[in-house]
């Protein structure tokens, strides 16, 4: 009799599935009722969890009530507060790779402790206890740091600044900000605006201030002058850049600065910086 997949012991089928991916294992549960338990086995989902998970979870006070590795995986796909709520950790559902969101408190924002420039407050739409709002400043410098040992190896990550623009904002769009991602091995710069493109405003500008935008863009480094994109939860994300995580452990700095415009700006609310795998990968 020819050997078939269904004739293999459940352990072997689970070993096979542990070499696929979380979506593949989830789809496999629908193949047949008798093979479903092989797809739900701990052998499969343990392999999808990061190997250094205990180390990361030791930095969290959250009690995870789970009865299987599969439940643990899906619970971790929702954000878990780490380091006393300073950072938030989750797993990417499709690949099982580690994702982080650094809260505003975890970032280095110049003059963030000066109430004349920045104010800290609670925000009901944020996952963190505090967000920081820009009152008024001329030079804005925001920096976040992350260690590659907290991330998954052999993965390209993208970093995003999560912001909202308040109704009484001003000066945020005059000149693009410069972004920088740097580590010991690489350094990538780009430029980005803080507000989405406003068609009406652009038309008005082109009538009266034809050269101004181009003049301002010339002041900053060469870049794509990106725009933020809207997220489902009401916040916007501004791409800071991408970086590749190899085998070595190193620190990565993510910077967003606006120091070349010299004009005052205000009304920017920052939730934090999100670091997640670039979406094309599986």
């Amino acid at each position: 009799m020819a050997a078939r997949l269904s004739m293999l012991p459940e352990d072997c089928i689970s070993t096979v599935l542990s070499l696929t991916s979380p979506p593949d294992a989830s789809r496999f549960m629908l193949v047949s009722s008798s093979l479903r338990s092989a797809a739900e086995s701990d052998i499969v989902w343990d392999r999808f969890l990061p190997s250094d998970l205990p180390r990361i979870l030791s930095r969290s006070h959250t009690q995870l009530n789970v009865s299987s590795k599969k439940e643990l995986f899906f619970q971790l796909c929702g954000c878990i507060p780490i380091d006393g709520g300073l950072r938030s950790f989750s797993l990417d559902k499709v690949s099982g790779r580690k994702c982080w969101i650094l809260s505003a408190r975890a970032l280095s924002i110049s003059l963030s402790n000066e109430p004349n420039h920045w104010t800290w407050s609670a925000n009901s739409t944020s996952r963190f206890s505090e967000v920081v709002e820009l009152k008024t400043i001329s030079n804005m410098e925001i920096e976040g740091r992350i260690q590659t040992e907290d991330l998954s190896t052999n993965t390209t990550y993208s970093a995003y600044l999560i912001v909202k623009v308040s109704d009484h904002s001003f000066g945020l769009d005059a000149i693009p900000c410069e972004t920088l991602i740097s580590s010991r091995t690489c350094s990538v710069t780009n430029t980005t605006y803080l507000c989405p493109l406003d068609e009406q405003k652009q038309q008005f500008e082109s009538l009266f201030f034809t050269n101004r935008r181009q003049m301002m863009e010339k002041r900053v480094v060469e870049g794509e002058c990106q725009r933020p994109s809207k997220k489902a939860d009401g916040w916007m994300e501004i791409e800071i850049g991408e970086f590749f995580v190899g085998e070595k452990s190193e620190g990565v700095k993510m910077n967003l600065t606006e120091v070349k415009g010299q004009q005052l700006k205000g009304g920017l609310i920052i939730e934090g910086i999100e670091v997640r795998p670039k979406c094309e990968q599986l």
Binding site: T15, V16, F28, L30
Partner: protein
């Protein structure tokens, strides 16, 4: 110089540096004949040659295979049997047919023969051997998984399981059923419930 060599050196390099023991590259067994060993031992009494034994494996259909011990102990199951002293005459493997056993032995031989896995050429050669090794029909592939599982040969189990995993990746449940000839034995209610639980995987 010879006094500083230990038994490991002798096993590895002896057929390079001691031309009185010519080994043809086409010889089917790795090992020395008993008279060669006796001669060797009389010339170098301080060195010890231990792993020159051959092990006899008996498949489920009665065929016997004589393999070098170094090749046979790629299987942890066989290794434990030898250590427990159950391998004096031959080792019966009632779960493995001769067709599959000969393939498993071919795999183990190749992996034992390639000691320097760091050398790029040897690594590429092994990779291409492994890729060709699993180009077999589904039935043989599953038999290899069963054999690797029973004989506890981790690298073979990983290789064969990865091959099947690659056949599953990216497929819908219907496509998987078709590829592996699996019957859908869900009741409609059960199927609806499982689909709802895993809806995210279908987006």
């Amino acid at each position: 110089m010879l006094k500083n060599l230990n038994s490991k050196h002798i096993q590895r390099f002896s057929y390079k540096y001691l031309p009185q023991f010519p080994i043809s590259p086409n010889s089917p067994k790795l090992g020395f004949s008993r008279s060669q060993i006796a001669n060797y031992r009389s010339n170098f009494p301080t060195t010890i040659m231990s792993s020159s034994k051959t092990i006899v494996l008996r498949s489920s259909d009665g065929e016997t295979f004589e393999v070098d011990e170094a090749v046979a102990v790629e299987s942890q199951t066989i290794k434990h049997m030898i250590e427990d002293g159950c391998a004096d005459t031959s080792i019966p493997l009632p779960n493995v047919t001769s067709k599959i056993l000969s393939k498993v032995i071919e795999y183990c031989k190749k992996h034992v023969e390639t000691p320097n896995a760091d050398e790029k050429v040897a690594e590429e050669d092994l990779k291409s051997f492994d890729a060709d090794f699993v180009k077999v029909d589904q039935s043989t592939l599953f038999d290899l998984i069963l054999a690797a599982n029973y004989l506890n040969i981790k690298s073979l189990l990983d290789l064969t399981c990865q091959t099947v995993a690659d056949m599953i990746k990216g497929k819908t449940p219907e496509e998987i059923r078709k590829t592996f000839n699996i019957k859908n034995d869900f009741t409609p209610e059960e199927e609806e419930e499982v689909r709802r639980e895993n809806a995210w995987a279908f987006e």
